[in-house]
């Protein structure tokens, strides 16, 4: 029962936080570019507006088109229960670790990419193809980076892993630094940020994720947007908690948890500053240059592995 409450609370908190993170990153990006940018809470306004809007669906589409966003949303929500956020433990950590987390997100992507082909619009197909391509290239880099960290921690269970790192403290071992760099690159790809993808563009030459969801509107689009923001927050959470686990509450003690939540917010904010800096200082890569970036990430992963275990 306690676990259930913990899970629901954590999922709700993450869902509530995700649009804010996107808003903050937009605001920072605008500040870097000497613009004013949209309000900090724009993410919530957008969601509220989309939820009120009528949902238009293509008349050639079938149930797959309806199921896509729902599965995408549901897998992202379920994934929050597998990740330690402010506590050194996850509500559903007994149900699966890193592999389940990556698998769940892959399931959501699979559903959305299949649904994108359902309207007959060439944009959907293009986005779906590119999304699956980038995901396929990011997957081995992601796994190798995570495995390097996990094997050193002696567990593939995120809860155990985080607890082990809390006990060991912050590490500046070259292997950890390289793995962190590798996973940072994967984060940029998975979150669809420049230089891999540009969340602000609607130009057919450059769109990846946006092309895939171009035909969606209303509630369907709200679910996709929300889930994407949640997914980005999840990746950031995993990254900060794997490499900077300091301050995570190890027991359910209110003052400790409050401190942990604040520390967690600060760490995620710092990471989002990093992502934004990368976004404003880089141009978007051509699609066929993305593999080089992913290969770089994979190479860093190999190095991290070799340094630790050879």
């Amino acid at each position: 029962m306690k676990l259930l409450a913990f899970g629901i609370l954590q999922a709700a908190a993450m869902l509530a936080l995700a649009p804010l993170l996107r808003g903050a990153m937009k605001k920072m990006k605008a500040a870097f570019q000497s613009r004013q940018g949209p309000p900090l809470l724009q993410g919530y306004y957008d969601l509220a507006k989309l939820l009120r809007k009528e949902t238009v669906r293509s008349d050639v589409s079938c149930w797959v088109f309806v199921a896509g966003p729902r599965v995408y949303f549901a897998t992202a929500v379920a994934a929050t229960a597998l990740v330690p956020v402010a506590l050194a433990g996850a509500p559903l950590e007994d149900a699966g670790g890193i592999l389940m987390l990556v698998g769940l997100l892959a399931l959501g992507r699979f559903a959305l990419a299949a649904a994108a082909l359902d309207t007959g619009s060439p944009f959907g197909g293009m986005g779906s193809s590119r999304e699956m391509t980038v995901a396929a290239l990011a997957e081995p880099a992601l796994m190798l980076g995570l495995f390097t960290v996990a094997l050193w921690g002696g567990s593939l269970d995120l809860g155990d892993l985080v607890r082990a790192t809390v006990q060991r403290g912050l590490s500046a071992h070259p292997s950890d630094l390289l793995a962190a760099a590798a996973l940072f690159i994967v984060l940029i790809a998975e979150a669809g940020r420049v230089p891999v993808d540009n969340p602000a563009t609607h130009l057919e030459l450059t769109m990846i994720h946006e092309a895939m969801v171009l035909e969606y509107s209303g509630v369907d689009l709200a679910l996709i947007e929300w889930a994407s923001a949640l997914k980005e927050l999840l990746f950031m959470t995993v990254l900060v908690n794997l490499f900077m686990p300091l301050g995570l509450a190890q027991v359910m003690h209110v003052p400790l948890v409050v401190v942990a939540v604040f520390l967690y917010l600060a760490k995620v904010f710092l990471l989002s500053v990093g992502v934004t800096v990368v976004e404003v200082t880089n141009a978007k890569l051509r699609l066929f240059r993305v593999p080089e970036l992913m290969a770089a990430s994979l190479g860093l992963g190999f190095l991290a592995l070799a340094i630790r275990f050879l």
């Binding site: 939820l51 009528e54 949902t55 669906r57 293509s58 008349d59 079938c62 797959v64 599965v71 949303f73 549901a74 897998t75 929500v77 379920a78 229960a81 559903l92 007994d94 149900a95 699966g96 890193i98 389940m100 698998g103 769940l104 892959a106 699979f110 299949a114 082909l117 359902d118 309207t119 007959g120 619009s121 060439p122 197909g125 293009m126 779906s128 193809s129 590119r130 699956m132 391509t133 995901a135 396929a136 997957e139 081995p140 992601l142 796994m143 190798l144 495995f147 390097t148 094997l151 567990s155 593939l156 155990d160 035909e215 209303g218 509630v219 709200a222 066929f288 994979l298 592995l305 275990f309």
Partner: protein
């Protein structure tokens, strides 16, 4: 003879009786088909019961099918846990396909040939059973060869087409090379054991470590590798599997290639004594190459059945990755880690049979409804064939290794086989190779997901791209029910992995040197790689979380009022037709460009008409068949050149042949005299 031991001969009698009946009614395809397939289905159930009995009690069931008193020659069978596991996999799929085939073989041009295909199917199932239960070299090779011949005959069902005949010939040629290797391998071990019974030949203590043992390993590895479709011995598979009628393709891809895996388990891994590290490394490397190249080649296929055939190579690769990891762990003295790899490999044998069988059956329905195998001519089938679409989607998600389905469980277990207790590995090679192989596995399953988004999306979604797809109708219930059962099993095994893994603990534990940790199964729904907290998997809990997520999404939709309007898709100002849809070629193009080192694509654009105002643009893109061209091309040419030379001694003159015989006999006599 104990009671369960009588079940196998009973099943065989049932099978042969129904085949005889089918032959008698060969003039009436419907009756003949029903007889052969119903007999096959029943025989499968009886044999399946035997396998369940063996797995439940753990005792080996032995018996004889035939004994010749005077010579002492007998064909015997022995069903131990390993055999029983493969038998279960076979019978599950064979029973489903038999039901499906009753309806499937009745349509169109196949109807006339359905007695042939049905009888062939039943025979094929019977011979595969014999391969799995044979207790000696003679029985095994006899069944093995019979299986290859029946299979080749079935591939030629549509013999009017040139490529079908070519595929069957290629299959036969490679099968015989494989059988040659196996005979040589078995002769090596049988001679050392002075016996032909598997109990002695494959006891593991026959050959001492040395060149002889390595030679036996390599012969078995090549022989069984061909049958399994392992790269680089795979070239027959993508030709032969699509050429056969779908019922047969499903059985070939689902089970028949597993006879190669079974052989590798029996001989290479556990029949020749403790394997040295290099054997495991070889199997791991071949498995890795098969997995990644199989899925890459599958990505650029637009013939639905060919695409599925290439995925069989990929999945055989995954199975071999598990076996290789297990063997490497075994030689590094890590019995509990070896058990994880072996269990993953065996689990994937079952899972692949389920989802690949399912995908082939769905594809068969699609192909017979649309009259084409090209997915570029399909589309819009989800509205016309909703059940087939649903079942194909389940199979597609399962083969992509997505959670809550069975493919994820075996791949998860395989990841554990690479990573569990990793720091305890003494060999630096193992320590580096295992995480790299795990990353390779991740790439493979991500590429498989990309491929199946394409295969499902282009086939079933959006607008129909050709008339055949426009006028398609749902398959009859008799074809849908087996698909539903297979899809249900994919879900069930994905949600409740504990049951299967408990059985696999027994199977793996019966193999020499393998000791599965009892902690692998925590409950019917929860599994782990071993003791401790390394990792665990409880899919039902995650499924509940996903259901909560879906409920939340539904609640949001309801709360928002949920007004839905249907409108045509925006076609950028033009009319949206099937011609403007994204194609399968376009879908896989980015990956083809990225992996062009593998594909080496050639592209040919031709303009027809005046220079700047072409009337027509012809576009042709091809990928280079690397193995066919650079490995098998020179090999074939070499064999043909050799045959040309050999023609000199085979001139067709009877006198010359008689002279050869005399020379041979004389030299044998001389040899004996000299040695005696």
């Amino acid at each position: 003879m104990s009671v369960p031991a009588a079940w196998l001969p009973t099943a065989l009698a049932l099978r042969l009786g129904s085949i005889a009946l089918a032959l008698a009614f060969a003039g009436r395809p419907r009756v003949s088909r029903w007889s052969a397939l119903a007999g096959s289905c029943l025989a499968s159930l009886v044999t399946g019961m035997l396998a369940v009995h063996v797995l439940a009690t753990g005792q080996t069931i032995q018996g004889e099918l035939l004994r010749h008193q005077a010579s002492g020659f007998s064909l015997g069978f022995a069903v131990d846990r390993l055999s029983a596991w493969f038998l279960i996999v076979l019978e599950l799929l064979a029973a489903a396909i038999a039901v499906y085939s009753v309806a499937y073989l009745g349509h169109g041009t196949l109807h006339r040939r359905s007695p042939f295909v049905s009888i062939g199917f039943s025979l094929l199932v019977g011979t595969v059973e014999m391969v799995f239960v044979a207790d000696g070299v003679i029985a095994f090779l006899f069944a093995w060869e019979l299986m290859a011949l029946v299979n080749a005959a079935l591939v030629t069902t549509e013999h009017e087409r040139r490529e079908t005949r070519r595929a069957a010939f290629l299959y036969l040629a490679m099968s015989h090379v494989a059988t040659g290797c196996l005979i040589a391998g078995f002769l090596l071990v049988a001679r050392a054991a002075s016996s032909l019974s598997f109990a002695h030949v494959l006891a593991g203590n026959v050959l001492a470590p040395g060149p002889g043992r390595t030679a036996a390993f390599l012969l078995f590895f090549a022989g069984f590798g061909v049958k399994a479709g392992m790269i680089p011995l795979h070239v027959w598979l993508p030709e032969a599997h699509p050429a056969a009628p779908t019922s047969i393709s499903a059985l070939m891809s689902g089970v028949v290639i597993k006879t190669g895996v079974y052989g590798l388990f029996r001989t290479c891994a556990f029949g020749l004594g403790p394997p040295p590290l290099s054997w495991g490394v070889l199997i791991l490397l071949c498995g890795g190459a098969s997995a990644i190249l199989g899925v890459l080649y599958a990505l650029v296929q637009h013939d639905l059945k060919r695409l599925l055939a290439y995925h069989s190579i990929e999945n055989i690769g995954i199975i071999l990755l598990g076996l290789g990891a297990g063997m490497m762990a075994l030689s590094a003295g890590r019995a509990e880690l070896a058990a994880v790899g072996i269990a993953a490999s065996l689990f994937h044998v079952l899972n692949h049979a389920l989802f690949k069988g399912l995908l082939f059956l769905s594809a068969g329905g699609v192909v017979s409804a649309t009259g084409t195998r090209q997915i570029e001519n399909m589309g819009g089938l989800a509205r016309r064939m909703p059940w087939t679409a649903l079942f194909f989607l389940v199979g597609a998600a399962a083969i992509s290794g997505l959670p809550l389905l069975n493919g994820f469980v075996s791949e998860w277990l395989l990841f554990q086989g690479f990573l569990f207790g990793f720091h305890l590995n003494s060999e630096a090679l193992v320590r580096f190779l295992f995480p790299v192989a795990a990353a390779l596995l991740a790439l493979t399953s991500a590429l498989a997901a990309a491929c199946f988004v394409k295969a499902f999306g282009i086939t079933f979604l959006a607008l129909p791209r050709a008339e055949g797809a426009e006028n398609a109708h749902e398959s009859p219930a008799l074809m849908l029910v087996p698909q539903g059962i297979l899809a249900g099993m994919c879900v069930l095994l994905g949600l409740a992995p504990g049951w299967t893994l408990r059985i696999l603990q027994g199977v793996a534990g019966s193999l020499p040197g393998i000791h599965p940790a009892p902690e692998m199964v925590r409950a019917w729904y929860a599994i782990a790689p071993g003791p401790g907290h390394f990792d665990h998997l409880a899919p039902p809990l995650v499924a509940v979380a996903v259901v909560v997520g879906v409920a939340l999404a539904a609640a949001l939709s309801l709360l928002a009022g949920y007004a839905v309007r249907r409108a045509p898709t925006w076609g950028c100002g033009g009319e949206l037709t099937a011609r403007t849809e994204y194609t399968a070629t376009a879908f896989s193009k980015p990956l083809m460009m990225i992996f062009r080192a593998v594909y080496r694509p050639t592209r040919n654009v031709e303009m027809v008409g005046e220079a700047h105002f072409p009337r027509e643009v012809r576009y042709r893109a091809e990928i280079e068949p690397t193995f066919e061209r650079y490995l098998y091309g020179p090999l074939t040419r070499g064999v043909l050149a050799l045959a040309e030379r050999m023609k000199v001694i085979q001139a067709g003159s009877l006198h010359a042949y008689l002279a050869y015989v005399i020379v041979l006999v004389l030299s044998l006599v001389l040899l004996l005299w000299w040695r005696g």
